[in-house]
Amino acid sequence: MQYLTDVSAHRTSTGLNNRKLLMWAFLGSDVLFFGTLIATHLVYRGKSVSGPAEAILDIPVTSVSTFVLLMSSLAMVLALAAVQKGDISRGRFWLAATALLGMGFIGFQMFEFTEFAHEGLTPRTNLFGSTFLIMTGFHGAHVTVGILWLWSLFFASFNGKVRQDNSLDVEIAGLYWHFVDIVWIVIFGVVYLIGAYGVEETVHAGVGTLSALG
């Protein structure tokens, strides 16, 4: 299968497109950003002395929202493949599907945060509330930025600004979108599942496992 893409209108000393290089550099820095938030949450896990904590997590609901975000990544890559083939209307459809699935994920997150607030968990309640809500809140903010970016591409496609020869615009948006997906894969696995399985023993077992791997 062959796709043609306008890499750039300029030559670069690296031979790589500068915009794509910048996006990867940004994603590399964002790995450290989210790594810090996840590490902070994990080291304070099980240390809250008051208020609701780990047991409040709703695994069934979060499993569905995780599935929704994973499927949005699939829709995103299908949008890119369509635009790279020059099928703009199909690309537009998948861009809208990606944005709508992302909005669905944000809806689940708003539901989760509202439920937590009703049960008395806010960022000021305890260590769990602070670290968990800041971590997932920043992820939600990233998803929201991605949704705005996707809708801007969707509407730009009606003005002929999304074309086969500049599909790099969609590819870069896609890199960002897939990144928020992989961050959630880590949060869901490490924070929700491993965390909810049994706080103290799993964190300690996790350290042992990670140390053995390292």
């Binding site: 790594g35 994973l70 490490v190 399985y197 077992a205």
Partner: protein, 101 residues
Amino acid sequence: MAHEIEMHENHPGPRQYVVIGVILAVLTALEVGAFLIEGVNPALMVSILLTLSFVKFALVVGYFMHLKFDDQRFLLLFVVPFIVMASILVALLALFQNLTR
């Protein structure tokens, strides 16, 4: 304006993307299924869940983000911070585990 053209002939097609999407959904179901099993050794459970998460992570990065097919310098830009982050995570967990024991 002379446009530099890059060929994407080595990227997967829509059919392969759908297959990867189905695999990701199945792996998520396996994660939740494993989580629901009671009485499993915590170390074994952590290993299973970490492995499943890592496979999902690698599939998205490798296929959906095309790192498996793109220039290796992009891979370097992503993997180096990831290794730094994972090292800091393990070090912090080990440190705090000892401090609070």
